[in-house]
């Protein structure tokens, strides 16, 4: 029985393992090697000189990195605050309404992200849904709300909303009602119940949700391009430019590697602290 489990386990993991090996780990290795190649070469058969990394730190690319991570952190913070009450409602208060919200949110995920962002452009631009109607109905007008940093953060919050919401719901559902009841019977205020019971016991959901929205926002590009115009250049944008217009693959690879290292270490750190069996509905073992 045990032996058979081991063999079948390995065999079942093989197909997806193979896909990830050939088309995930191998490409990462390739950009890893490209990143140490001399400037503007297109082959892996050169003598490494690490010049791209020097360029990254001298040519002000750290600014884009800071923008990306700063905006990602801000949007993750905002997401936590706006998702918590809703997630709490979905896990503990709503009954069938919770299913309605789940379906409504999942359906938006199936609409291409750039169509939705384009929708925000139409909504927020001068002469758009909001400004246009406001002007005809009240005569009041303003200069559209696009092309600045706050609107990019707004776009990130909008785009990654489900990635914070669902893990939080899952996390809050893991908090036993008895514990909350007991704390409140013993005289804990609402705020204390939140801090001492809800927060620590739903931590796995918070970690996954925070990690997902942060990581996805840090690597995002469409929000800053469509909503932000060219107000700030984010890191993913720099990477794309280096590969396409810049025709400098080593530089693009070095930038990617830096982004991957930061994101990767965060994810590995976060994921290793969470019991995946438990959060996905398995039994405590």
């Amino acid at each position: 029985m045990e032996r058979q489990d081991r063999r079948i386990g390995f065999l079942s993991a093989a197909p997806i393992g193979l896909i990830l090996l050939v088309s995930f780990l191998a490409p990462l290795l390739v950009i890893g090697i490209f990143s140490v190649m001399p400037q503007k070469v297109f082959s892996l058969l050169n003598i490494p000189d690490f010049s791209s990394y020097k360029l990254v730190f001298t040519k002000g690319y750290s600014k884009s990195l800071l923008w990306s991570f700063g905006m990602a952190m801000t949007s993750t913070g905002i997401l936590f605050v706006i998702c918590w009450p809703l997630a709490f409602g979905m896990a503990k208060v709503f009954k069938s309404f919770s299913l309605v919200i789940t379906i409504a949110v999942v359906v938006t995920l199936f609409v291409s992200e750039n169509i939705r962002l384009f929708g925000w452009v139409l909504t927020l631009m001068k002469g758009g849904l909001i400004e246009g109607h406001l002007r005809t109905w009240t005569g009041f007008t303003f200069e559209g709300a696009l092309y600045n940093v706050p609107v990019i953060v707004f776009g990130l919050v909008y785009a990654y909303f489900p990635f914070m919401l669902f893990p939080l719901v899952q996390g809050i559902a893991m908090v036993p009602d008895d514990a909350r009841q007991a704390a409140s019977d013993l005289g804990a205020s609402r705020w204390q119940v939140f801090r001492e019971i809800d927060l620590p016991l739903s931590a796995p959901g918070i970690v996954i949700g925070g990690l997902l929205s942060f990581v996805l926002a840090a690597g995002a590009m469409a929000e800053s391009k469509l909503l932000g115009g060219q107000t700030v250049i984010v890191i993913a944008d720099e990477i794309e430019t280096a590969f396409t217009y810049g025709q400098n693959w080593p530089l693009g690879s070095a930038l990617s590697i830096i982004l991957i290292l930061i994101i990767g270490s965060l994810s590995v750190f976060g994921v290793s602290r969470v019991n995946l069996d438990l959060i996905m509905g398995g039994k405590r073992s």
Binding site: E2, R6, I8, G9, L11, S12, A13, I16, L20, S23, F24, P27, L28, V30, I31, F34, L44, P85, L86, G89, V93, F94, I101, A104, V105, V107, T108, L109, F110, V111, S112, E113, N114, I115, R116, G119, W120, L122, L129, E131, G132, Y158, S184, V193, L212, L216, G219, M221, A222, L226, A236, S256, L259, I260, I263, V271, L276, D277, M280, G281
Partner: protein, 271 residues
């Protein structure tokens, strides 16, 4: 801890407002798609559905639809099969590298997609493969097959391993167990995973951007037209793409509903 009535009402209201907020941009695109004017301004003065007609007649749009459809269908089929086995390895069997495997599966989901697309482009170049819609299938699979694995794994967690053991004790071969017990038990998970796979591939943009080569998918074309050289077809093509997703979603939900009665073990799990 009973919640006061007012707080409950406020939470419900918050939920409704959130849904409205999520759908507001889609509503805007919907209005824009039926505006008669070539250069759109709100409020819309005259409504017209001519852009839909033009979009459907356009051979460019037909090509885009076809490419997107081919990619999504292939991705769906492959990721369902791969996800089925992956989910068993993820959730069900106790084998040596299970924990490592679980983490490996999560990594592509956490990965910035545009960067993944570029990395794949480098890789294809190193291998001498010319990018086309077929390479986009590979790119989509890297991201989507972990997702189907997770969806099916949720289902796999909820069934009792004793069912499989019982079948094996009664002399069923590994293949028979798979076909008669595991397969039917996981079927609802596999169907919803397939639905997710199709819809996520259909709408995906960052992975396609660098990996389709000379071919182009619907979301890629839309993006190109949004960033430069706006076309009045953009809103109507966007709505057509959304409509396709919704029709498929409905078909999927109906399939799931039809599969329900046959799934006689589902109430037997001890989860």
């Amino acid at each position: 801890m009973k919640m006061p009535r007012a707080a409950r009402a406020a939470l419900y209201l918050y939920g409704i407002l959130t849904i409205l907020f999520l759908y507001l941009p889609i509503i805007s695109v919907g209005f824009a798609s039926v505006s008669k004017a070539r250069y759109l301004t709100f409020p819309i003065k005259r409504y017209d559905t001519k852009w839909y007609g033009k979009a459907i007649e356009s051979s460019t749009v037909q090509d885009l639809l076809w490419t997107s459809l081919s990619v999504a269908l292939l991705v769906t089929v492959i990721s369902m099969v791969v996800g089925f086995f992956g989910a068993l390895a993820f959730a069900r069997y106790q084998w040596r590298f299970r924990r490592t495997f679980q983490k490996l599966i999560l990594l592509p989901i956490f990965f910035p997609q545009a960067v993944l697309g570029l990395a794949l482009l480098m890789w294809f170049n190193a291998l001498g493969v010319i990018p086309s819609w077929k390479t986009a299938v590979v790119a989509h699979l890297v991201w989507i097959s972990p997702i189907t694995t997770l969806i099916i794994a949720i289902r796999a967690y909820s069934f009792d391993p004793a069912l499989e053991e019982a079948a094996r004790d009664m002399g069923a071969s590994t293949w028979t167990v798979m076909k008669e017990v595991t397969g039917p038990l996981l079927l609802p998970g596999v169907v919803s995973a397939g639905l997710f796979a199709f819809l996520l591939s259909w709408g995906n943009f960052p992975l396609s951007l660098f990996t389709t080569g000379a071919d182009s998918t619907l979301p890629e074309w839309l993006y190109a037209k949004m960033v430069s050289g706006y076309s009045p077809l953009v809103p109507s093509v966007g709505i057509l793409s959304i409509a396709t997703s919704i029709v498929l979603l409905l078909c999927g939900v109906i399939t799931m509903w039809l599969l329900r009665p046959r799934n006689k073990f589902s109430s037997a799990h001890t989860g």
